[in-house]
């Protein structure tokens, strides 16, 4: 349920940018979420519908772009997508990797009128 505080931040950022652009209304938000960020789209949407009421972003559509987790093996350099049961490198069995994607959690852009 950390999505509530997160959705409040999201609203603040979106409204802030819209006001700066003298927009009357925010119609769409484009959000990117990495699979390692532990954020649930439906939950953000649920809170959004409640907290955006009576703001210039009321009724805006949320678009989520999910980014799968991707690791790069520290031993052989192989890039791979880990599963929920095994994290080691599928090519060399190496333990120890850099996370190269999947931690994103950002508001990329908004559409305003």
């Amino acid at each position: 349920m950390h999505e509530l505080s997160v959705t409040e931040s999201l609203l603040k950022i979106a409204v802030g940018h819209a006001e700066k652009a003298d927009a009357r209304r925010v119609t769409d938000l484009h959000i990117v979420i990495g699979d390692l960020a532990s954020m649930v789209d439906e939950s953000i949407q649920f809170y959004w519908d409640i907290i955006a009421r009576d703001t210039i972003a009321e009724g805006a559509t949320l678009h989520f772009r999910r980014v799968p987790a991707e690791l790069q093996c520290n031993t052989c350099g192989e890039k791979y997508h880990p599963t929920d049961k095994e994290l080691v490198c599928p090519k060399c069995g190496g333990v120890g990797a850099k996370i190269i994607a999947g931690e994103e959690f950002a508001l990329e852009s908004i559409d305003v009128e």
């Binding site: 349920m1 950390h2 509530l4 505080s5 997160v6 931040s9 999201l10 603040k12 950022i13 979106a14 940018h17 819209a18 652009a21 927009a23 119609t27 959000i31 390692l36 960020a37 532990s38 954020m39 987790a69 690791l71 520290n74 880990p82 929920d84 049961k85 095994e86 994290l87 080691v88 333990v95 120890g96 990797a97 996370i99 959690f105 950002a106 508001l107 990329e108 852009s109 908004i110 559409d111 305003v112 009128e113």
Partner: protein, 223 residues
């Protein structure tokens, strides 16, 4: 007319900024600070209870306990020897955030302490997203939780500086493959400092307490 505005802003920026403020404040006061994460029942509070007597006459400790309700944990920390114990009731929130810690720090005269222990709400998902601004993050895992936790909660396991594997005395009684567990940890967090502890037998607790003393002293006396 519809117009697109590029934003590209990390949604947790506001929290991260306050966390940075907390960090500066702790650093300036010379207080070494840790954020303890764990699932409910892993033994966070017991660990703190068993650690405090080992720090007696070595460090002046303040504790901040986050819980959804009740002050049971801060009462236990105070009884075990924390000079100050502050309870943050999150009122239903599943994690502490930087603003909550900021408020709790206001209530402490920081230079009077060498070590600040922040006990987060028992939860392996949400707290990982909210930096608090402490120097180190410590994760308490426990043997009965099972060896698959690093695979299920990579977000938490990858971000910690110290891993405590608690209730180690239960290893003979539960199905827990230490190799599988540690492999998952090492992929995400290579070389993370690890202690095997038991609050029942006392195993590993002296070494863990020594680590705290060493780090707190470094901060206190370094220029």
């Amino acid at each position: 007319m519809t117009q697109k505005i590029s934003v590209v802003e990390n949604i947790l920026n506001a929290n991260d900024r306050i966390a940075q403020e907390n960090y500066t404040r702790l650093e300036n006061a010379g207080v070494f600070s840790i954020n303890i994460l764990a699932s409910p029942g892993a033994g966070k509070t017991s660990l703190i209870e068993q650690t405090l007597p080992r720090l007696k006459d070595r460090l002046r400790v303040a504790a901040i306990d986050g819980d959804i309700a009740t002050s049971i944990d801060s009462d236990r920390a105070a009884a075990a020897g924390a000079l100050a114990a502050i309870q943050i009731n999150t009122g239903g929130d599943c994690h502490l955030d930087a603003v909550m810690l900021h408020g709790a720090l206001e209530q402490l005269t920081l230079p009077e302490y060498d070590l600040l222990i922040v006990e987060n709400v028992g939860n392996l998902v949400c707290p990982a997203n909210f930096k608090l601004g402490t120097h180190k993050t410590v994760l308490v895992a426990s043997v009965p939780e099972g060896d698959d936790k690093p695979y299920k909660y990579p977000g938490t396991y990858r971000g910690v500086d110290v891993l405590i594997i608690n209730k180690i005395d239960l290893l003979p009684y539960v199905k827990f493959n230490m190799d599988y567990f540690e492999r998952g940890v090492q992929v995400l967090n290579p070389g993370v400092k690890t202690y095997h502890t038991s609050c029942t037998t006392g195993e590993g607790l002296d070494a863990w307490a020594d680590w705290l003393v060493e780090n707190a002293k470094k901060r206190r006396f370094s220029p």
